[in-house]
């Protein structure tokens, strides 16, 4: 019962915003664009807070890697019920090159430092759609992982995780300490209540640097170009099924 849970939250461009590609094709426009917490991270925070309310775990720590603005995301997690926050300060060029590998190194280092028994992350971020951080973190720590979790049952020393896989649902039992990544149907995140938002002001957010954790942030990947998807072409109507087959054959589709 003295378990601590680490929840990773990422500050991403809000899902409702229309993305624009930068003219120089190095990325998307992020200046002045509305950002918010990654929806899967919200589900992860909600799960951790529910575990705390059921008194199965002691403390929920929210972590975010990024520039100063990431603290807003941590505050939102605190308003939802996390106990304290850790802001890993990464800015400038390092932030642009921050990918799942670097983040998982940071999370692994923090998990060891804070003596954490469970790491809950969102399954993927809606900006890069990588779906790698949870898996890499588990590998670096040599912990079992329950990914795409749609249900998590907390038992004494292990977790029963129901995973959403292509063929249906798979239930696995993994020993703690472990890494779980949250899928859409795990829970429905709560709205932060006003009193909780006010209380979140008083909760602590520690700032650390990646160098303090002994993490090397050098990038392994280089982004060559970012382009918009090609415009949708107009469709063509055909009269009969034979015409359809002929057209498909002609264009080499079948």
């Amino acid at each position: 019962m003295s378990a601590r849970v680490l929840v990773g939250v990422k500050r991403v461009i809000d899902y409702a915003v229309k993305i624009r590609v930068k003219p120089d094709k190095t990325g998307v426009v992020t200046d002045g664009v509305k950002h918010s917490m990654n929806p899967f991270c919200e589900i992860a925070v909600e799960e951790a807070v529910r575990l705390k309310e059921k008194k199965l775990i002691k403390e929920v720590i929210a972590v975010s890697c990024g520039p100063q603005q990431s603290q807003e995301t941590i505050r939102t997690a605190l308003a939802m019920g996390a106990d304290r926050g850790i802001h890993v300060d990464v800015s400038g060029k390092d932030y642009e090159n921050l990918g799942p590998l670097q983040v998982s190194k940071i999370l692994a280092a923090l998990a060891k430092k804070e003596d954490v028994r469970l790491i809950i992350l969102g399954k993927q971020a809606i900006d890069d759609d990588c779906n790698q951080t949870g898996q890499m973190t588990a590998a670096l720590l040599d912990w079992p992982q329950g990914t795409f979790a749609s249900q998590v049952d907390f038992q004494e020393d292990s977790l029963k995780v129901e995973r959403e896989i292509d063929g249906g649902l798979e239930t696995i039992k993994i020993k703690m300490p472990a890494v779980v990544t949250a899928d859409l149907r795990l829970n429905e995140p709560r709205y932060a209540t006003l009193p909780n938002i006010m209380k979140a002001k008083k909760k602590k957010i520690d700032t650390v640097k990646p160098s303090d954790l002994g993490v090397d942030l050098s990038p392994q990947l280089e982004v060559l170009s970012v382009e918009e998807p090609s415009q949708r072409q107009a469709g063509v109507k055909v009269e009969t099924v034979e015409d359809l087959i002929k057209k498909l054959r002609d264009s080499g589709r079948i």
Binding site: D31, G32, E72, R75, A192, L194, P195, N196, I197, M198
Partner: protein, 500 residues
Amino acid sequence: MNFTPKKTNISTAVRVPKKVQQVPGVPPKAAGTARAELAQEWQQADVSEATDLWRPSLVGIKKGSKEPIRDRLIFWDWTAGIKSSSLMNPISDCLGHPEKRKAKVQFDWQDALCLESQLTEEETMIRDTFRTYCQDKLMPRILLANRNEVFHREILTEMGELGVLGPTIKGYGCAGTSYVAYGLIAREVERVDSAYRSVMSVQSSLVMHPIYAYGSEEQKQKYLPKLATGELLGCFGLTEPNHGSDPGSMETRARYNPSSRTFTLNGSKTWITNSPMADVCVVWAKCEDGKVRGFILERGLKGLSTPKIEGKFSLRASTTGMIIMEDVEVPEDCLLPHASGLAGPFGCLNNARYGISWGALGAAEFCFHTARQYTLDRIQFGVPLARNQLIQKKMADMLTEISIGLQACLQLGRLIDQKKSAPEMVSMLKRNSCGKALDIARQCRDMLGGNGIADEYHVIRHVMNLEAVNTYEDDENVRQSCTVNGKLKSGTVNLDSEAS
């Protein structure tokens, strides 16, 4: 004399019109002109993706130019009617210099005067959370709730869970936030519907506030926590059938019975939001000494009835009714001990009026955003409606009024938080916000044309609601007076008289 006539080349002498593709919506004689090409490009451009209100300019466009219009973001300083060189240079845009396009500070039509930068992190979080709730949970309900005149009692409970009822009250299960946060909350609710904001205002400012400000400790402990969670629904009874703007001459009487230590109330109140479903009524009656005092009445008292007012065409999503009291006997501890005279109810109304001044602008913003998107999407005569200068002029006026109004409300909120505000300030801004919002809503309805009268587009609902919002809590045509200690203090200026 040798006079050789110049050989006329027939092909150049007669202007042969170029064979051009007929563009739907463009008159044939305009075919082949830059206008027709523009129209063609407009029809192909995905206007729904425009996040900025832009219009293509004929300046610098070459006939046959292949450059897509979307790349030409040109901002016009509508209010001045001239191209503002301080923002962007449209000419250089047309010549296609994307680097020059990006000015240091971008103008954001959704937040023209950067209200965002003036809010604290807490206020921003409160607003964002509540906005998500309103759009997710309230917006889907409102269409049919308004059409069928259904009041969803559950929204009180939902709002109570979020802690937004009585947000400025400290303790008793309430959040204790700033008045600016209260204003932001009201703006988000009214963005969905004024009826929902009325319900919230009544509960927070007109029921919880008088109990908090004027009630005894027992009354506060008894009622406030349950009102905060939405378990109890309250209503505020001041207005009478014959005394609306003039509550001072009310006919409701409260007679004290020393033998049983009770008060007997007689009278009727009308236009009371929430009353048909309310559990608690804060009613104001004149006592034998001529002073107006407040009483907390609970449903179930003998002689107390709350008939519903049918046939309302405004604020249909909330329930409004009368409070009829026929020899209603209440124990003397139902009296609000610290309120005496009209200052009591007026203090509450002031509180609610502040919320309304923010709220009305929320409704105006919704109408403005809807009209903007509609006029961008609707193509007539080959171009979107937004291409027309009259529409643009109206939009510019709307944006200006909303931005200015919000700045004023923010300043007022900060003053109230510092306890440096006067009631006249609140009246002034309520009148401004409601009048401007009603005007904006009407103009937006007009811009939506025939579709504007369908409730699926929502704007007509705001037009109907704002009629009531403009009137209640201080009609703009009546001089509002505050009787404090018997002296008459004038509030809002009477539009007709010079001397006020």
